[in-house]
Amino acid sequence: MLKINNLQASIEEKEILKGINLDIKPGEIHAIMGPNGSGKSTLASVLAGRSDYEVTGGTLEFMGKDLLELSPEDRAKEGLFLAFQYPVEIPGVSTTNFIKSAVNEKRKYLGLEPLDAAQFLRNMKEKMKLVEIDQSLLSRSLNEGFSGGEKKRNEIFQMAMLEPKLAILDETDSGLDIDALRIVANGVNQLRTKDNSFLVVTHYQRLLDYIVPDFVHVLYKGRIVRSGTKELAKELEVKGYDFIKAEVDQELA
């Protein structure tokens, strides 16, 4: 589904990603872990097409298409979804209208008829239950004045509405208490099928107790330095990142 080959990216001349390789197949959950500043969020942003980052080398293939050739909106319409680490507050844009136009722009791109108001509402009600999000939140301006937990639930709600093939969760667990974390994870698990995939970017192992990954990768200094199963995450939890840093720094020296 997603093939990342030797991806290199920089921001303002500073190289952040120094050759990432990753292959995600349908139905798989991959976790990217790593210490602060290792490039985790950069990877998520580059995949979604944020223009602040310049891709300086490598290839990105998604469902057989060259992602680097696609605008952020076309990547989304092809089925890529980024749950933001910091969802943006947008006063004056109603959450419901925003989601409705996102859903219908995607349908149009895929050659489908737009959902009418009744269909959309039915769909919305169903997905609202999934992330235990309240109607009153959705009639407000997008993320405006939402708590941290409400913003993250709204991200997962949008994901549910857009039904992506690949969802990237960028530190979705940061700033969430354990109850909110459970709700978010539960939403993700219910949306999981044999056809769609997840890339879970996180600093902590905690989230992976709820969203159980098939593969865990450790990102450090812009490279994937270790890959393994969920046991690797457990090991990191116990030993911290320092042991990997030490090993890798020694290898590089």
């Binding site: 909106e73 990547r75 969802p87 006063p91 209208n97 989601i99 409705k100 996102a102 722009e105």
Partner: protein, 433 residues
């Protein structure tokens, strides 16, 4: 370039020669105008706004001050058929096409010249020219020199009008640069409630220049909702003052929407002469091409415990320019004043610009005043967020600009006018959700 002096002089002499109750007032103002001339850009208050350059020998002032009923009906805003309707043609009040739909017991609309000589003469004497205390420039005096073409509106004590008052300013520009000078004097008596809306129409496809003065006095417990809607087209030049006095504790609320024009200058004054007065001033300038829109506002707090809130927003596309100058005076005795002011600008066009200047003069020591201004581009983070959900860059931009603009439109109280303004803004921003 020839200037307009001779044309103005000829027109003045022609109409003032006819005498009438305002002849003396007009002569004084003509003399004042002759002394002061038109404001040049070296005049601090006019530094961005070259209105003087529009006064050329192409000005057309005379005649043609007529319009058929049929032609008028085509111009009426949808859903406002029941409104009290005041029609100005080329800056002259046209009584025959104006209609009063509320009862004569509660509202009186008549020529200003008539009011200056009948039972309303006292009000006229006190209030006509009151705005000159704040705008003692030649352009205001020039309007006053032609005041006899104006209208007088009185809303009687305790009346709540069933219908809004809509003023249609129609300029016939088919014979050259049409110069219009509407004059409006409004007497809102105790506890009366009024919606007053002004809108401008350029008929004929040529250039126009309008120099307007509106003076409103509201007594205690009155409520005024005022809207100025400017969408006359790119060949319009406009300079106007709306001067609102609160002579008793009351509520006055103004929304100024500017969507097009060549040079547009709006002065808006709120003069808070009584304790516990409340005023609101909202503005939206949504500009493109080479339009320059210049909003100058004044809130003058003379008495304690007054509240004023002001929010102006601008979106500048292409090579357009937005100017905002907001003065707040808090006089020595105006303790416990609450005065808030905010001006926000988004530059969309490569060559667009914005100039913003808050001016606070506070002489009392126990007041709450705040002001803030921003000039920036569209928020890139917000744009990316929307695009990452599959919304095209173009639609994302529309959505964000619309969201920015719409909270000003929502301040319009009259539902029909609000819907109309919403539609104009949505069309301009290609917003269709």
């Amino acid at each position: 370039m020839m200037d307009a002096t001779n044309i103005l002089k000829e027109a003045f002499e022609k109409q003032n020669g006819a005498g009438g109750s305002l002849a003396e007032y007009q002569q004084e103002n003509w003399n004042m105008f002759s002394g002061l001339g038109l404001p040049a850009i070296k005049h601090e208050e006019w530094k961005y706004t070259r209105i003087r350059n529009v006064f050329t020998d192409k000005l057309v002032i005379n005649n043609d001050n007529n319009l058929s009923q049929d032609a008028l009906e085509k111009l009426i805003l949808k859903g406002t058929e029941n409104a009290n309707r005041i029609v100005f043609i080329n800056g002259r009040f046209l009584e025959t096409l104006s209609t009063t739909t509320d009862s004569a017991d509660v509202i009186c609309i008549k020529p200003l010249e008539k009011a200056a000589g009948d039972e309303d003469a006292n009000f006229v004497n006190i209030n006509l020219g009151h705005s000159q205390r704040y705008h003692g420039d030649g352009i205001n005096a020039l309007n006053a020199a032609f005041a006899n073409g104006g209208v007088y509106i009185r809303v009687n004590k305790g009346a709540t009008l069933n219908n809004p008052i809509i003023i249609y300013h129609i300029s016939n520009s088919s014979h050259g640069l049409r110069f219009s000078q509407p004059r409006i004097l409004v007497n809102i008596q105790e506890a009366a409630q009024v919606e007053l809306i002004e809108t401008y129409i350029n008929m004929g496809g040529g250039e126009t220049l309008t120099n307007e003065v509106v003076e409103i006095s509201a007594e205690k417990d009155a409520v005024l909702h005022y809207v100025k809607l400017q969408n006359e087209g790119e060949k319009t030049n406009y300079a106007g003052t709306t001067h609102i006095r609160q002579t008793g504790k009351c509520l006055t609320h103004a929304v100024t929407i500017t969507l097009s024009g060549s040079i547009v200058r709006n002065n808006l004054n709120m003069v808070m002469e009584a304790e516990h007065g409340e005023s609101h001033m909202y503005g939206l300038y949504l500009l493109k091409g080479n339009t320059l829109a210049d909003n100058h506002t004044i809130v003058d707090n003379a008495m304690p415990h007054c509240f004023s809130n002001e929010l102006y927003k601008g979106i500048m596309d292409d090579a357009s320019t937005g100017v905002f100058n907001g003065k707040i005076f808090v006089r020595k005795d105006a303790q416990k004043t609450n005065a808030y002011q905010s001006n926000k600008n988004i530059l969309v066009g490569e060559n667009a610009s914005a100039n913003t200047k808050p001016q606070l003069e506070i002489l009392a020591d126990d007041v709450k005043c705040s002001h803030g201004c921003t000039i920036g581009k569209l928020d890139e983070d917000a744009l990316f967020y929307l695009r990452a959900r599959g919304i095209s860059a173009e639609n994302a931009r529309s959505m964000l600009l619309h969201a920015f603009a719409i909270d000003i439109i929502e301040q319009i109280k009259n539902e029909e006018i609000k819907a109309y303004a919403e539609q104009l803004v949505a069309e301009r921003l290609s917003f269709n959700i």
